[in-house]
């Protein structure tokens, strides 16, 4: 994956791998944590938890709506169920079960969707969640987390389990560059300033944080200092950080591996419109499904690149 290379980031693990490791570790500390998966535990990496805690691991078969319902029942009994599948199948197949069994009763279910975004590559659109963040954000009271790298994914997994209430954690399939060191903390609802800058702000999450850093390096070469915010929590949004960015830098580019409508861009734009209107640009998947190809090819083909972030940032800075 050709991300973060311009700022010398090293390639790390996939966020799903880090999630799987953290979940197994948490399992050792917290006996209330249980897992419900739907025949994809080798993909979501919950199998690592399952191998160590077979009694607390339930594979309910290829049946996502059932999976979420089962998690709801477990949560109602004080368990902390992690309900995991591909993000596409979990959010899209079981949406009403999430709505009725998780969000509406505000139960302590930890939804985890892997293989999110187009970077899964060759399997193609049926397996790619590109609408999951929009769907999750539309659910009242559900926390939505999109970690940028392996360390953030571990921290986000811990934050999600420690939080009392429904959450959605989005993780990806491919290895991604390491943005943080292992001590990074994820505080729900609090953006991380990855780079300081006063001319423009790039707000990103997931693997687009690494692309944002590449873009910022290139912009610096043109004399534009970009602030980079990792908005790992899409909901509740860190509105103070967004308002400060709008006020102090005068323009914001939002970059995410998600559809244009309803994702981080929409959420940030609503906050900007209300708190401190400024110029904005959006680097995301523009109202289209992707196709098969390597993850790297698809990111390029659909414009999820540092190039596009630079374009949008320079347009904004020049007042275009």
């Amino acid at each position: 994956m050709n991300l973060g290379t311009e700022v010398g980031l090293k390639m790390g693990k996939a966020t799903r791998d880090a999630f799987g490791e953290a979940l197994r570790d948490i399992g050792r500390e917290n006996p209330a944590v249980v897992v419900v998966d739907g025949d994809v535990s080798n993909s979501t990496r919950t199998e690592w938890f399952g191998k160590e805690f077979p009694d607390r691991f339930f594979d309910v078969g290829i049946a996502e709506s059932n999976l979420v319902g089962v998690a709801s029942g477990l949560a109602a009994n004080g368990k902390i169920p992690v309900a995991a599948s591909f993000a596409a199948f979990l959010l899209c197949n079981a949406y009403d079960q999430i709505r009725m069994g998780v969000a509406y009763p505000h139960l302590n279910v930890k939804l985890v969707g892997s293989h999110a975004g187009i970077s899964i590559g060759e399997d193609g659109p049926s397996q790619m969640a590109i609408e999951d963040v929009a769907l999750a954000c539309a659910l009242p009271g559900v926390v939505v987390l999109v970690p940028a790298d392996e360390h953030a994914a571990r921290a986000a997994t811990r934050a999600m389990i420690a939080y009392d209430g429904p959450t959605y954690l989005r993780v990806g399939r491919p290895n991604v560059p390491v943005v943080y060191d292992e001590n990074v903390q994820i505080e729900i609802g609090k953006a991380i300033t990855v780079r300081e800058g006063g001319d423009v702000t790039i707000i990103a999450n997931g693997l687009m944080v690494a692309a944002a850093l590449d873009a910022a390096a290139r912009l610096a070469g043109q004399g534009i200092e970009a602030r980079v915010l990792d908005m790992h929590t899409v909901k509740p949004l860190d509105e103070a950080a967004v308002a400060a960015a709008a006020r102090e830098t005068g323009g914001i580019v939002v970059a995410e591996e998600h559809l244009h409508h309803g994702g981080l861009g929409s959420v940030v734009a609503m906050a900007v419109a209300r708190l401190h209107p400024c110029r904005m640009g959006f680097v995301d998947l523009d109202d289209t499904y992707a196709q098969s190809g390597t993850g790297e090819e698809l990111l390029r083909e659909y414009g999820l690149t540092a190039d596009r972030i630079v374009e949008e940032a320079t347009r904004i800075v020049r007042g275009g």
């Binding site: 994809v40 290829i62 399997d123 196709q291 190809g293 390597t294 090819e297």
Partner: protein, 284 residues
């Protein structure tokens, strides 16, 4: 629609079992070559379905015309277990829907041969699948449309034995029996394994026959690699007009290649390039 009166005889068909056997062998080779070239995909899930698709498309069962993929009177085949796309693509190319040369573009940027079937991009694909559990409902819609339009086409839907853990399959099964659709045929590729385990770890496959029967379906049970049994079941199912029929085809996941047959964890994995030559030799 200019193709209203297309011939039902346009497809190549043979009743000769030796020829079909040879074709099945070649199709397995195509599947292996294209998935290894792609570096990913589901060859083992494709191999269990080879004889069924071979008989369906080339044994004179399915009515279709590759020159007119949208011919309204064509029979429909829906691959609900969409991850077996490679065998569908090999069959569609063999049938003449697109040049065989395109098979090597599987899963590559720009190719209509996506990882899972996309009906908007590839002629001959009747439904976009890949999220399991949805094909039988779509098939029922086609079957009901035939009734509305006064057409006599058949609708065949292939499902995985793990796939039918999805509740939607049984919603469709109930509705189809209630509608007494005599033109809907489900084929379960009963290869005993799903992605992470034997199907028996999740549910008891032995009960599947009883379940379909209890849901009001006529049940046929066959060896899904025996071309004669496959043919006889497909014909019997086609000729049954009183309601929906399910063919439970007992198959072997990865059939034809030892390493696939012996280890279900090949699910969703392509054979590495350095193993291809030997494997092709084994397939013959």
């Amino acid at each position: 629609m200019g193709d209203q009166h297309a011939s039902a005889q346009a497809q190549p068909a043979t009743a000769n079992l030796d020829e079909l056997r040879d074709l099945a062998r070649r199709l397995r080779r195509e599947v292996l070559i294209m998935t290894t070239e792609a570096g990913s995909g589901h060859p083992s899930s494709s191999f269990s379905a080879v004889e069924i698709l071979t008989q369906l498309y080339f044994g004179g069962i399915l009515r279709y015309n590759p020159q007119q993929p949208h011919w309204p009177d064509r029979d429909r085949f829906i691959l609900s277990k969409g991850h077996a796309a490679p065998i569908l693509y090999a069959v569609l190319a063999e049938a003449g829907y697109f040049p065989k040369d395109e098979l090597k573009t599987l899963r590559k940027l720009g190719s209509p041969l996506e990882g899972h079937p996309n009906m908007r991009r590839l002629p001959g694909v009747e439904a976009s699948t890949g999220s399991l559990g949805q094909g039988l409902s779509i098939g029922l819609g086609h079957a009901l449309a035939a009734r509305l339009d006064g057409r006599d086409y058949q609708v065949y839907v292939m499902l995985g034995d793990g796939e039918i853990e999805e509740g939607q399959v049984w919603e469709a099964a109930m509705a189809a029996a209630n509608q007494k659709v005599g033109n809907l045929i489900a084929i379960v590729d009963n290869n005993r394994y799903q992605q992470t385990s034997a199907v028996s770890k999740v549910t008891d496959p032995a009960l599947y026959d009883d379940k379909w029967a209890a849901f009001g379906w006529k049940v046929l049970e066959i060896d899904g690699h025996d071309l004669e049994q496959v043919r006889d079941a497909l014909i019997a199912a086609r000729d049954e007009k009183s309601g929906p029929v399910v063919i439970i085809a007992h198959t072997i996941k990865g059939k034809g290649l030892k390493i696939f047959e012996e280890d279900y964890t090949w699910h969703g994995r392509a054979l590495p390039k350095d193993k291809l030559a030997e494997a092709l030799e084994e397939l013959g």
